[in-house]
Every structure is written in structure tokens, then in C-alpha cells.
């Protein structure tokens, strides 16, 4: 079965976040558990945000991709909330891919809860400003780089 498990993980690497098409669900740290029983596969996924509207698309994409793996006849996708997804689950590779898409990877908050501005993904400058805690998706904020003088998106630390 270990051959199948490797093939399944490789297949999951190809399933990207519908809203961040350069980053896989694996690198976002969203795959909690993969269980194989004969030709049936169960995947437990941790949503990044409880109200994420992309969940049904993710369910469909995971199912479709895993059903193309040899020896898989049935795929069940479950969303679970324990452990909670946190931004610390994003892999090093995931952080690089986020930055290449123009989204600054999250950094640990400082002493003040609003001290969350990450380095600019374009020029690397620190010390930017919060433009809006909320952004185009639940998991992102909008920041402003004082050096490039342009806004950029970043992931909220949660």
C-alpha cells in the first residue's frame, strides 16, 4: 500500500488552492490525514477559515485528482477543525510559492496585536503599514510598502 500512499501524496501536491493557484493544499498545511482502505481513500482537510467559500471547489478538485490515481475507486473528503489550521502549518516551500504569487507569507505577530506587517513580497522592505486587515479573501490582509510605494497582499497570521 505504501506505493499507493506515495502516489496519493504526489497527486495531492498537484491540487492547488483555488484562490492561490501557485500553492498546493499540501504546502498550505491543509491535509490533516490520508487513510487508505483497499481501493477507498479518505482525506481529512483543515479549512484555513471556517467560512471559506472555496471548500466545495477544494472537495471536488481533491476527489477528481485522487480518482485518477491507479487503484483508487472511491474518495471521500472530510473537513475537520481539530487541530485548528494555523498559518504555522504552511511549509517553507508554501511560503516561497505564496511570495511568488505576490502574497507575503505571514510572520509571527510582535508584542502588539497589530504588529503583523510582513516584509514586502516585491522588494523585501520591512516596516510597512496595515492598509486593511481584511482583503480579497478571508485569509488575507492588505498592506502598504513605504519603499515601493505600493500596496501588497499578505496572509493574516492566525
Amino acid at each position: 500500500m505504501s506505493g499507493t500512499r506515495d502516489a496519493l501524496w504526489r497527486a495531492l501536491q498537484e491540487v492547488k488552492d483555488p484562490e492561490i493557484p501557485t500553492v498546493s493544499l499540501v504546502d498550505l498545511g491543509m491535509i490533516h490525514r490520508l487513510q487508505v482502505a483497499g481501493d477507498r481513500v479518505t482525506v481529512e482537510i483543515l479549512p484555513t477559515f471556517v467560512g471559506c467559500p472555496a471548500l466545495e471547489i477544494i472537495r471536488r478538485d481533491v476527489r477528481e485528482r485522487l480518482l485518477r490515481v491507479d487503484g483508487v475507486a472511491d474518495v471521500s473528503v472530510k473537513f475537520v477543525y481539530h487541530p485548528p489550521w494555523t498559518t504555522e502549518r504552511i511549509t517553507e516551500e508554501g511560503r516561497k510559492q505564496l511570495a511568488s504569487f505576490g502574497i507575503a507569507p505571514p510572520r509571527d505577530p510582535g508584542n502588539h496585536p497589530l504588529d503583523i506587517v510582513p516584509p514586502c513580497p516585491y522588494c523585501g522592505a520591512e516596516g510597512g503599514e496595515i492598509h486593511n486587515l481584511f482583503g480579497p479573501t478571508a485569509c488575507r490582509s492588505i498592506f502598504y510598502c513605504r519603499r515601493c510605494r505600493q500596496p501588497f497582499e499578505g496572509m493574516k497570521p492566525v
Binding site: 471556517v50 467560512g51 481539530h82 485548528p84 489550521w85 496585536p113 497589530l114 481584511f134 478571508a138 492566525v158
Partner: protein, 264 residues
């Protein structure tokens, strides 16, 4: 008492009933405040607030769905029907949340007061003996953190700005105060909720903690503290609501009533 699943909850005398009431309070608070948030879409004072309120609305409604799913596990209807197909007297949110948005000051003050309350309630429920609730709450708290930061900033800025902003904030607080105590009520099930350990403490402690967090914000905003709020006679936790809810439901359930099976 530690209860790990809906199946177990259903087998303990009185447990399911108390838990169901609390889950409706949580779900309905989030659904109704989320719906009011969504009404700002395209109308907020600037584009950034349009983005913020849309995002917050999406979070709140998502949290409501989480609680509705827990209710479904306990034998209630599915999430769509619970959201759109219940009468006003079956809803358990606090009346303050069904009031129309009013002006920006009213919206901000209400959201700030609610978000402080919600954080305190979530903090309490992270110790809930009902494990599926405690687990979801751990996740939801991390998201609500940002709502509260945002609203607190607005609250203190508008209050301390003087002029029209301050006048509107004073009026908003005056209008909110008779309703705001309704947040703390746990309805008819406070005793069993505490006895079963579904929530570690009751309404009085929720309110005490709320005041301890809200009063410093009044000072920072240079706004006078209006005194401890009391639970209003129209207690939403007991299914009592106002005609404001009838109008909200008319609008919120319009599509569902046209075609309950619609997919979109």
C-alpha cells in the same frame, strides 16, 4: 462532564435540549449580525470598509454554518433550512443584532460591543465539556480576533474625534443601551448549561467580564459610561423579537422562499 459526540449528547437526559438552545444562540447571533454586515456592501463609507464588512460578513455566516452543522448532527434540520426556514419566534439571537444598521456610528458601536461579548463567550466555550463545540470554537476565536481589533480601533477613533462623529457615537450608544443587555442572557437553559459543564459560567460572569473589557474602551474613546446594562423584557434568547426581525427575514429568505431547492 466531557461529552465527545452528538450520539453521546443525545443519550443524556436534558443535555441535548440545553446544548441545542445554546447552539441556536450562537448560530443565530452570527447569522443575523453577518446578514446586517452584508447590507453595507456597496454602501460603506469607503472602499476599504466595503471590503472589510464583506469579509467579516462571510466569516460570521461561515461560523453560523459551523454551529448549524453541529445542530444537524443532534437531529435538527440541515443548515439551509435552519437559516432560512424558521419562524421569528424560533430564533435565539439577541434583539440588538436584528436592529437595522442605522448610521456608521451605530454599526460600529454595536459590532464592537458584540465582538467583545463574542470573544468572551468563545473563550468560555473553549473549556466546554462538549468537545465538538470546544474544537470549533478554538478555530473561530482566531478569526474573530481580527473583527474585534478592527471594531475597537473604529470605536475609539470615532468617539475621541469630537464634532459630528462624537455626537453620533453618543446617540448610537444611547439607542443601543436598552437592547445591549440581551447579549448576556442564556435564555431558559442557563442552569443546565452550567451544571452540565457545556459553558463554565453563566450570564452574570459573562457580563462582568464584558464590562471589564468595554469600560477601558469608553475611557479611551472619551465617552461617558452609561452604567451596567440590564437584560431587556424582549429577550431574543427566549424567542421574543421585534418587527425589525420580520423585515430582516423577509429580505434574507426571499430567494429561499422562491425556490427552496435552488442551487447557486
Amino acid at each position: 462532564m466531557r461529552v465527545v459526540s452528538a450520539t453521546e449528547a443525545k443519550n443524556i437526559d436534558g443535555y441535548r435540549e440545553a446544548l441545542t438552545e445554546l447552539l441556536f444562540q450562537l448560530a443565530d447571533d452570527e447569522l443575523i449580525v453577518g446578514h446586517r454586515d452584508s447590507e453595507w456592501l456597496g454602501l460603506a463609507p469607503d472602499i476599504e470598509e466595503d471590503v472589510a464588512f464583506s469579509s467579516i460578513a462571510q466569516d460570521e455566516v461561515g461560523h453560523a454554518v459551523y454551529y448549524f452543522e453541529r445542530l444537524h448532527e443532534l437531529g435538527e434540520d440541515d443548515a439551509d433550512r435552519l437559516a432560512f426556514d424558521r419562524r421569528a419566534d424560533q430564533r435565539r439571537h439577541a434583539v440588538v443584532l436584528e436592529r437595522p444598521n442605522g448610521d456608521w456610528a451605530y454599526t460600529i458601536a454595536r459590532h464592537f460591543f458584540y465582538d467583545v461579548f463574542d470573544q468572551i463567550r468563545l473563550e468560555a466555550l473553549s473549556d466546554s465539556g462538549y468537545v465538538p463545540l470546544a474544537q470549533g470554537v478554538a478555530k473561530i476565536r482566531r478569526e474573530e480576533h481580527y473583527h474585534l481589533l478592527h471594531m475597537r480601533l473604529w470605536f475609539t477613533r470615532l468617539g475621541s474625534a469630537g464634532g459630528e462623529a462624537e455626537a453620533r457615537m453618543r446617540r448610537a450608544i444611547r439607542d443601543l443601551w436598552p437592547d445591549i443587555g440581551g447579549l448576556f442572557s442564556l435564555g431558559d437553559v442557563e442552569r443546565p448549561l452550567v451544571e452540565f459543564g457545556i459553558i463554565p459560567f453563566g450570564a452574570a460572569e459573562l457580563q462582568r467580564r464584558w464590562e471589564r473589557q468595554v469600560r477601558p474602551a469608553f475611557e479611551e474613546a472619551k465617552l461617558p459610561w452609561p452604567g451596567s446594562p440590564v437584560v431587556p423584557a424582549t429577550d431574543g434568547r427566549k424567542g421574543k423579537h421585534t418587527s425589525d426581525l420580520d423585515r430582516l427575514l423577509d429580505s434574507m429568505t426571499e430567494v429561499f422562499r422562491m425556490d427552496p431547492a435552488a442551487r447557486w
